[in-house]
């Protein structure tokens, strides 16, 4: 999946912004983020439209960037995961 990176100060962040939250530069580029480690995992029973009825969401630490991704695997804290995207958004699998 893609995240934002500031070309001026190298700050990386998930939610797209017009200005860098650290140095206020507007030189923001998109970079690939491919893997991380599971910090916390929550399985959902009541899910929002248009998502499937059952899945878990992993909170992932990817070199200091925190992000969220769906998974159908039973992951544990500390598992290393690869992050890709499907038709809804980010999804992760154990690697």
């Amino acid at each position: 999946m893609k995240i934002s990176r500031c070309r001026n100060c190298d700050a990386k962040f998930l939610v797209g912004r017009v200005f860098c939250p650290s140095c206020k530069s507007d030189a923001i580029e998109m970079i690939d983020l491919l893997e991380g480690k599971v910090i916390e995992i929550v399985s959902l029973v009541a899910t929002p439209e248009p998502f499937p009825d059952n899945y878990s969401i992993a909170m992932i630490d990817a070199n200091g960037i925190v992000l969220f991704a769906r998974t159908d695997e039973s992951l544990k804290k500390g598992d290393s995961v690869g992050i890709t995207e499907d038709e809804f958004g980010p999804i992760c699998n154990k690697i």
Binding site: V15, L67, A69, P90
Partner: protein, 380 residues
């Protein structure tokens, strides 16, 4: 200073009436008495477009109340709409722009499948986080997991909040749920987002509440007694969850509470009764710490010891909270103020906290995107 001089509720729950009728049902007793005095209407509502196919709701309501020419606005700040609306009404009065403000909080959310409702509420998340399939209930679960592991709290401490709030709701004639639940009931109820269970989440609700707010110096020409707003604090935090440093503290709650207490000139230990934003059980514990009632990591002990029940050291959510009273989103922050009004004027019935003099309410938007804290003093 502005004072809440009157309050009026509809029953919360699954209601047959439409949104406009609910809003008018709550406002009518106040308009009946004070129609000629009302010179501004503030409507707290967040989702009339999404749920009810209605926009410009403030003007639709004012006409139905035959207050057609009274100026009005709608305040939308998701779950924190009520706190924001109170801040607006208080500012209008303190600046002299208005004298007697009718504040109406109203929402109608039932009628859609839960999956649709969950989608509507999740629309307040940033797209990069929302598209991972997050819902507001799932964020409560992340928070509960973090809290339990960081502070070595027993799981039951969180469930105790639901037991207490259902008990309080059973004493509130306007609450959606008016029956008690035991700790076993909560712990055996259906999991919604692991580890949190259905009794630990607020339901989907319809309902409305209205308040009359007036300048303190003219309180004698209205009800003669009320809840004076002596301090307000407003604070925003990042809406990006991935950008937050901790899941077990809510910066906006901490800052808003600090400001409100400072402006009110009182300490948190002076507060006799508090309403917090318990969309899910664990939020009440975390907010009770961030507001300053307990040290960080100690709120769960207070919940276990019963310190926050009616008769305890600091009764929290005497109304039943969002958890049991229900959470018609735009109405919730106004209902908090209405509960404090009843407590400080000695009209809270079976829920009455003895000698309640100072009150505190915390209305929160998003999942900690912003918060309005208000400190009240009973006046007569």
């Amino acid at each position: 200073m502005s004072v809440i001089a009157d309050a009026s509720f509809t029953r919360f729950g699954k209601r047959e009436e439409g949104l406009l009728d609910l809003a008018c049902e709550s406002a009518s007793p106040i308009v009946n008495k004070f129609a000629d005095d009302i010179d501004f209407i503030v409507v707290s509502n967040s989702y009339s477009g999404e749920y009810n196919d209605i926009s410009g709701i403030n003007n639709l309501i004012s006409t139905k109340l035959s207050l057609d020419t009274v100026p009005s606005i709608r305040v939308d700040n998701t779950s924190g709409s009520g706190g924001s609306a109170l801040m607006v009404a208080d500012s209008l009065i303190r600046s002299g722009s208005a004298s007697n403000v009718l504040v109406i909080g109203a929402e109608k959310m039932t009628g859609y499948p839960t999956k649709r409702s969950t989608r509507i509420i999740a629309s307040l998340l940033q797209p990069e986080e929302r598209n991972a399939g997050l819902s507001l209930p799932s964020l409560g679960a992340f928070m509960a997991r973090s809290y339990l592991s960081e502070f070595h709290a027993p799981r039951e401490a969180i469930a105790k909040i639901a037991v207490k709030n259902h008990h309080n709701g059973s004493l509130n004639p306007f609450a959606q749920f008016q029956s008690e639940v035991s700790l076993e009931d909560v712990m055996n109820s259906r999991v919604i987002a692991d580890p949190l269970r259905i009794y630990e989440y607020c339901p989907i609700s319809d309902g409305a509440v209205s308040l009359l707010m007036v300048p303190e110096e003219s309180l004698h020409s209205f009800s003669g007694k009320g809840a004076s707003i002596i301090g307000t604090g407003y604070s925003s935090a990042t809406s990006s969850l991935s950008f937050r440093k901790s899941l077990t503290t809510l910066d906006c709650v901490r800052k808003a509470s600090e400001t409100a207490l400072k402006r009110g000139g009182i300490g948190i230990s002076d507060v006799s009764v508090a309403e917090l934003h318990d969309m899910t059980s664990v939020l009440e514990i975390i907010e009770s710490e961030d507001a300053g009632f307990f040290r960080k990591g100690e709120g769960w002990r207070a919940a276990m010891n019963g310190d926050t029940q009616i008769g305890g050291q600091i009764p929290i959510n005497t109304s039943g909270g969002l958890n049991s009273k229900g959470h018609p989103i735009g109405a919730s922050g106004i209902a908090q103020a209405a509960e404090i009004y009843q407590q400080l004027t000695g009209t809270a019935g079976k829920r009455q906290v003895e000698d309640a003099h100072y009150g505190f309410s915390l209305s929160m938007a998003g999942f900690g995107n912003s918060a309005t804290a208000i400190v009240y003093e009973g006046v007569a």
